[in-house]
């Protein structure tokens, strides 16, 4: 490098002069502030000031490129004059807008693949904690699912169907040109200039082995050259509550009557007791079975007829929902940014603070992010820049999904109101501690005959655990991304980029010393600190040249990528009250640590050619070597080819008065996937850590395929873009076919072999779809403007090859010709009116044991047949939005929808258990149960014996269509003459609602659950109403 610097000092500059002028709009003759003026083929440039004026140093013979968002880019060759004034004409489709693509930028017109760009404006319309959420409903063909109401959790994103079974199906996220390994929640929305979703092979091929699931390119803001410093300050504050109401549950008196009925039925029908005995035994068994008596000293609160006895008054009736969920969660976000630039240097500096509370009490997410982006042209041929950010966040994360005892939603749906929030004595009186405070009841007061021991979720109290336990996720991310660019000639440049990312995950877990699961060991503290470092080094040589009608663009790149996770954990028990650090631990329980490393070496290149900016052709190639595979199978070649035709530039269409623009494009390519399979998936090894007291111990890991290699996706894309009627309607239509071959796939083995599966390259999968995006600019006035957009996509998923005919995977069966996500479960056949038992369908078999095609019902669940029943993948997803501006008011709405998917609601199944497990909460729907012979109902009898009535079947499979109003904003910008005197450029106030309305076909459940359509006791997303203020100086 020193040698290099020494060399460049000798470089002699060509003769320079200063050109100045004014940029105006041809339509109205008004000056255009903020238009970009760039010396073609260089990074030198600036923006016009508020009067549309610019002044730039150039050499005679160089070309100045003038561009502005919606105006047609104009080029002027610098001649002898020192003044160049330009009037820009309206460019209907903003085709010369520069779009960030893989390893570079291209004009919108020249793109041959499928790229959807989200601007800062679109992102800012939504209140997103994780920026990738903004894709939902705004980009067609992308399925986004936000699971649960814990703030700071990231959505699941699937671009164009599900391209993998066992390897990762997550898209690659690239931040400012570098693959991002941190937590995406560390980036705040206000830092983002654009977020581009790359969907087809030609746009993603340069990411080769990691591109098969699509790529999201996030570009952060930069200042503008020659612009005055702009200070932008925003504040938003609001309140949130769950977006969707939960299933309704029953109260204590009903609960007691139903419990009696279930016990009576069980005695009568299962244990064959006489009716009198069955009823009497049920009455006497209730309190001993439940362990608690909310009626105090009324020993048998339910009589032999199943009614509450006179005088049975409730001492408590716990509303667990109220005890666990927030009524109003506060959200506030403040941000400040400073941007601007001189003649050679531009900068962007920002800071953002967010504090958001979650649905479940005590859950929250607090984040501070800062960013500094700096870029400077040192001289004519050298530009250097640095993008850096520091982000730190803390997430208080009480369990609110899954099946651990303290899991909030599971608790609300499991624990009946019979069980008290606070501890009670034998007579039902409250018990106080030495300080006179109530004590959370953990259902584990051993030795107390009543109100002591709970039969379910013993030794736990999910409401108490919100305060007695602590789960914190702290994250700190530092990124520094520096580059140096050398312009050898106008056509040839070299760019070297080094990026470093350091991501620290610091997990802290405290379980109380006095109550709950770690009380017997005096509390437990577990901490883990994982450091992920990523080092990426890219060297690129770019060539860009126009000869007459021909333009050639070529890029050659060499890249290395290194990622390392260094994990450390410690755990100890035995703490004094109030002590929550490991130094206070009496017994060290465990220490752990490991290092995982991944590397990638790549050679890549792209060549593009166009003729008269009318015919485009482009090819990309990448060769990747990955440390995830054995030496023999680690290198993979990936490529794409694509082309486009700007039909509207042809002479026969050029003068059309209704067609402004028409482009056809097509691409094909093959990409890879090596993510989500572990770091050494090809090795079968003996795992350490299985020590037997002081003897070190190892255990054989799962069986592996030593020849495991890339999973390959072949993508075909064809599309059409158009603009009609003088820029009134704009749209695009695309069709794609994505074939994933040699899937990295966990092939199930018979569990009797001692291995449940082997990961190998078998099978293939196909995703096909059509995507449509339309935008109408209905009113285009200066004072009033109104536009509306709609996008939607149809996607189908199909298994095209498997190693075995079919096999069952949870609630799905995988079979050639079916989707990965077709439910394959038992079909509910209703309730037998004769005895109230649930029934399912099974095949009628002929004499040889083959199905005849007819079906009959069975009451034996294990004999029930399984059948295909819809899919968890939606047929159509999409969104629509509208923007209205009237004077100083602005109004916009954004909706997203999903149609045709099914969801299996296991929470509801739990609530419809019918008291086979005593003490569990039940749905209000249980009222419609079978009660006596002849009752026609779909809800079986209540039975306090093991039964399969609520086992997996179509009984709990529901349509999951929904429409969600994701964002609605009403804003008002103060008249500029009112603020100008205060040196304030702009003041805008707005009222915003997020997720305010959700219409869904299945109530009681947030429709966004998981790709596989299964629930996991998740808390709901939140709806937020907030007020915001934005001031620009």
């Amino acid at each position: 490098m020193t040698l290099f610097m020494a060399f460049v000092m000798q470089f002699s500059l060509a003769q320079e002069k200063t050109v100045s002028g004014t940029v105006t709009s041809a339509a109205d003759g008004l000056p255009v502030p903020g238009a970009s003026v760039i010396v073609k083929g260089t990074a030198r440039g600036q923006q016009t000031d508020f009067d549309g004026k610019y002044s730039i140093k150039v050499n005679a013979g160089e070309t100045l490129v003038f561009s502005f968002l919606s105006l047609r880019t104009t080029e002027v060759v610098v001649g002898s004059s020192n003044t160049i004034n330009v009037a820009l004409t309206e460019d209907v489709a903003a085709l010369d807008e520069v779009i960030v693509v893989a390893y570079g930028t291209q004009t919108a017109k020249s793109i041959v693949g499928s790229v959807t760009s989200l601007s800062a404006e679109t992102i800012e319309k939504q209140q997103v904690t994780t920026v990738t959420s903004a894709i939902q409903g705004t980009v067609s063909g992308v399925n986004v699912i936000t699971s649960g109401g814990q703030p700071g959790e990231n959505p699941t994103i699937r671009i164009r169907g599900i391209g993998s079974i066992n390897a990762s199906a997550e898209p690659l996220i690239v931040l400012d040109g570098v693959p991002f390994n941190g937590n995406i929640n560390s980036i705040s929305g206000d830092q983002i200039e654009s977020m581009n979703v790359l969907k087809d092979a030609s746009s993603t091929a340069l990411y080769g082995s990691r591109a098969a699931n699509g790529v999201i390119l996030i570009t952060t803001k930069k200042g503008a050259l020659n612009s005055k410093p702009t200070l932008d300050i925003s504040a938003v504050t609001g309140f949130a509550e769950p977006a969707v109401a939960m299933h309704e549950t029953i109260g204590t008196n009903d609960f007691m009557r139903y419990t009696w009925e279930a016990a009576r039925n069980s005695n009568l029908y299962v244990r064959n007791q006489s009716a009198a005995d069955a009823a009497a035994n049920a009455s006497s068994s209730i309190i001993p079975t439940l362990g608690y008596n909310p009626y105090g000293n009324v020993a048998q609160p339910v009589d032999v007829n199943g009614n509450l006895v006179p005088g049975a008054n409730l001492l408590w009736e716990t509303d667990w929902k109220d005890a666990i969920l927030r009524k109003a969660a506060l959200r506030s976000e403040y941000s400040m940014s400073l941007s601007g630039g001189g003649a050679d240097t531009r900068y962007f500096l920002s800071a953002n603070y967010l504090n958001q509370e979650g649905t479940v009490k005590e859950s929250d997410f607090e984040r501070i992010t800062t960013r500094l982006n700096l870029e400077s042209s040192v001289n004519k041929w050298l530009t250097v820049g640095l993008n850096s950010s520091l982000s730190t966040s803390q997430q208080n994360y009480p369990e609110q999904s899954g099946s651990s005892y303290q899991s909030s939603i599971q608790w609300i749906y499991s624990m009946s109101s019979v069980y008290p929030l606070f501890r009670r004595d034998n007579n039902g009186g409250l018990v106080y501690d030495n300080f006179g405070n109530k004590i959370y009841d953990y259902g584990a007061t051993t030795g107390q005959s009543v109100n002591g021991t709970r039969p379910l979720l013993g030794n736990e109290n999910a409401a108490g655990s919100l305060y007695n336990y602590e789960t914190l996720n702290k994250r700190t991310a530092l990124t520094a991304n520096g580059f140096a660019k050398l312009d050898f000639t106008d056509d040839l440049s070299f760019k070297s980029t080094v990026s470093y990312e350091n991501y620290l995950y610091d997990g802290f877990d405290y379980a109380a010393h006095d109550v709950g699961y770690a009380a017997s060991v005096g509390g437990r503290v577990s901490q883990s600190r994982n450091i992920t470092t990523t080092l990426n080094f890219t060297n690129a040589l770019n060539y860009d040249k126009t000869f007459g009608d021909h333009t050639i663009q070529a890029t050659g790149i060499f890249e290395t990528y290194q990622m390392k996770i260094d994990a450390l954990g410690a755990q100890g028990t035995g703490f004094l009250p109030g002590v929550k650090v490991l130094n206070g631990s009496t017994t060290p329980e465990s220490v752990s640590g490991y290092i995982s490393e991944e590397r990638l070496t790549s050679y890549l290149g792209r060549v593009g050619y166009n003729f008269q900016e009318k015919y485009y052709i482009e090819g990309s190639f990448r060769r990747d070597g990955s440390s995830r595979f054995a030496k023999e199978s680690r290198w993979g070649n990936f490529y794409s080819v694509g082309g486009s035709w700007i039909a509207s530039s042809e002479s026969f269409l050029e003068n059309s008065n209704w067609l402004d623009f028409l482009k056809f494009r097509a691409s094909y390519g093959e990409l890879g996937n090596n993510q989500g399979i572990g770091y050494f998936p090809y090795l079968q090894l003996f795992q350490t850590g299985w020590n037997e007291l002081s003897n070190t111990g190892v255990l054989l890991g799962g069986v592996t395929d030593p020849n495991l290699s890339w999973e390959t996706s072949a993508l075909f894309n064809v599309g059409m873009d158009f603009t009609l009627f003088n820029n009134t309607i704009e749209g695009s239509v695309e069709y794609y076919n994505k074939e994933s071959l040699d899937l990295i796939y966990s092939q199930p083995l018979p569990i009797s072999t001692g291995n449940s599966s082997i990961t190998t390259n078998v099978g293939s999968l196909s995703n096909k779809g059509v995507e449509v995006a339309l935008l109408g600019r209905i009113i285009k006035g200066n004072n009033v403007s109104w536009s509306a957009g709609l996008n939607f996509a149809f996607t189908t998923n199909e298994i095209t090859e498997l190693t075995q005919e079919s096999f069952i995977n949870g609630t799905k069966r995988w079979e050639v010709g079916r989707s990965l996500y077709d439910f394959y479960i038992q079909e509910w056949a209703g309730v037998d009116p004769a005895d109230g038992y649930g029934m399912w369908y099974k095949d009628v078999l002929d004499a040889n044991g083959n199905p005849t095609g007819e079906r009959e019902t069975t009451k034996n669940y294990s004999q029930a047949g399984r059948y295909y029943q819809g899919s968890s993948l939606p047929d159509v997803t999409g969104g629509f939005n509208t923007d209205l501006k009237v004077g100083n008011f602005d109004f916009n709405m954004l909706f997203n929808f999903s149609l045709g998917a099914q969801v299996y609601d296991s929470s509801y199944a739990g609530l419809m258990d019918g008291f086979s497990n005593p003490g569990y909460q039940a749905s209000k729907d249980i009222a419609g149960r079978w009660q006596q012979p002849g009752d026609v109902t779909d809800i079986p009898l209540l039975l306090n014996s093991q039964n399969d009535f609520n086992a997996t079947s179509t009984r709990f499979l529901f349509d999951n269509d929904y429409l969600r109003m994701r964002a609605v904003t009403l804003g008002y910008t103060l008249p500029s003459n009112a603020t100008k005197n205060l040196f304030i450029e702009k003041v805008r106030v707005y009222l915003r609602g997020d997720n305010l309305l959700t219409w869904s076909s299945h109530k009681g459940l947030d429709p966004e659950q998981s790709v596989s359509g299964t629930t996991d006791s998740r808390s709901s997303l939140m709806k937020t109403v907030s007020f915001g203020l934005n001031v620009k100086f």
């Binding site: 005959s449 013993g458 017997s520 991944e598 199930p748 083995l749 569990i751 294990s862 093991q946």
Partner: protein, 469 residues
């Protein structure tokens, strides 16, 4: 200008030269938490680490609180009987004796866990035999592997078919002695028991009494296992010899009555032949059946009570009388302090009194009633200094031996269920149970259906395997 272009090209070429080192660059990352086969089978220390790992896995969490380790196989058997009464929560479906359908967790776990361990022991045995270790080391280490393999096949044989004596040719789970990626067909009990007996005979012949710790297999453990197997196969002569060898023949030396009330949480109890040790940092936490369930004092699940009809059979002076009144009414009135729960409570697998009682029973079955009665009384007297020798003979003596087995080993490995199965006697619950039921001799409740997951992935087993199960 041209020079600069050249230099740029040079730089780029330089970067490309790095290519030569690319493979070395990619070779560098290596697994940090795992070791290869050569490390394990390259030395005796390596093999011992593997055996340690296998033994640790025997008590580790597997799928759920009632499905993790040998102890949960055992406790499911315990709770199916008459001597304990279960309140609610985990194990309630085992208590109801209906937890046997192909998709149920009990069924899948009881199949998957032993097979997981069998695959580990197969790898151990085959790896040792192919290694360059000395012949002495090879014989001893693979004997440990074979004893463990036999132990797990013995569990499968008991859980997925009626007892051997009922029909030795009845279908039994598949047999594997090598790593396989395809499923084998069902075997027969006869084939499975042959493998079990061969493995244990090899183990007895090639092991002595030394070992790394009381959780490892030595000749004593191998003999104890063989005695249990012969008891099921009704090879009384073999059972007598193996049981005798397992405890050494001296009743009082083999017993330590004062340790009975120590809470069954310490593997160093001299009566314990084999156990699963735990420590604060190597605990299965609340998966620790029986103690996490049977202990009614230390906070855990605290939901298993004692049938008063059973506790009434213990005299006041019996060292094994650990019963107390809970203060609850009904089926929850009696509890036991036999098992104390703590995260570091060890888990019992095999004890000397079982060997003494097996020897006594084997003598009885072979007609030596006198010898049998003498051994039984020796044990009774050890437990209760005021014990009086009964006047029982014939069927009454048989019942006395079987009752003594329950009194000695209740809660440990499902002795009641084990005896009811092998002797084809059934289980009758007394009316004070939460769920009163009678299991007829050879009732279907005594064995499980074949898991659906196995049927779905095994080409050699289809749905018909569960017909009439």
């Amino acid at each position: 200008m041209k020079k600069i272009t050249k230099l740029g090209v040079l730089l780029f070429a330089g970067a490309l030269t790095f290519t030569g080192c690319a493979d070395r660059f990619l070779d560098e990352p290596a697994p940090t938490e795992a070791v290869s086969e050569s490390v394990i089978f390259g030395s005796r220390t390596g093999v011992e680490a593997y055996i340690s790992g296998i033994q640790r896995r025997a008590r580790a969490q597997f799928t759920a609180t009632d499905a993790g380790g040998v102890n949960s196989l055992y406790f499911a058997r315990t709770i199916k009987g008459n001597d304990f009464i279960h309140a609610t929560s985990w194990w309630s479906f085992d208590y109801a004796n209906d937890n046997r359908e192909p998709t149920y967790r009990r069924t899948v776990f009881t199949w998957q866990f032993p097979y997981y361990m069998i695959n580990q022991t197969n790898t151990l045995i085959n790896g040792v035999e192919a290694s360059d270790l000395s012949e002495i080391d090879k014989a001893e280490l693979s004997a440990q592997g074979k004893a463990l393999r036999a132990f797990y096949y013995f569990q499968l044989a008991q859980e997925f078919q009626l007892t051997y004596a009922k029909d030795p040719d009845a279908p039994a789970p598949p047999i594997y002695t090598d790593l396989s990626l395809t499923g084998n067909p069902m075997s027969t009990l006869r084939e499975m028991y042959k493998l079990i007996v061969d493995d244990l005979t090899f183990a007895v012949a090639n092991l002595d009494n030394s070992r790394l710790g009381k959780s490892y297999v030595n000749a004593q453990v191998a003999n104890g296992l063989l005695a249990r197997v012969y008891l099921v196969m009704e090879n009384w002569e073999g059972a007598e010899l193996a049981a005798h060898n397992a405890y050494g023949g001296d009743v009082n030396a083999a017993l330590a009555p004062n340790a009975y009330k120590d809470g069954f949480g310490d593997i160093n109890n001299p009566e314990w032949i084999w156990g699963l040790p735990q420590s604060d940092d190597q605990s299965n936490y609340y998966y620790n059946a029986p103690s996490a369930f049977v202990d009614l004092v230390n906070p855990a699940y605290n939901n298993v009570f004692v049938n008063s009809n059973f506790s009434d059979t213990f005299s006041e002076t019996d060292a094994r009388n650990t019963f107390f009144n809970t203060g609850y009414s009904g089926f929850r009135s009696v509890g036991t302090s036999k098992f104390t729960f703590a995260f570091d409570s060890d888990i019992v697998v095999m004890r000397t009194p079982e060997m003494i009682l097996m020897e006594a029973e084997a003598k009885f079955r072979q007609g030596d009633q006198l010898g049998a009665h003498e051994l039984l009384y020796a044990l009774q007297l050890n437990r209760d200094p005021q014990a009086v020798k009964s006047t029982n003979s014939g069927a009454a003596l048989e019942e006395e031996i079987l009752l003594e087995r329950r009194k000695e080993m209740y809660g440990e490995f499902g002795v009641e269920w084990f005896d009811a199965r092998r002797l084809q006697r059934g289980i009758q619950r007394t009316p004070n149970h939460r769920i009163v039921m009678d299991l007829a001799p050879n009732d279907k409740a005594f064995y499980l259906k074949i898991p659906q997951r196995e049927i779905d992935a095994n080409d050699n087993i289809d749905d018909s395997v569960n017909a009439n199960r």
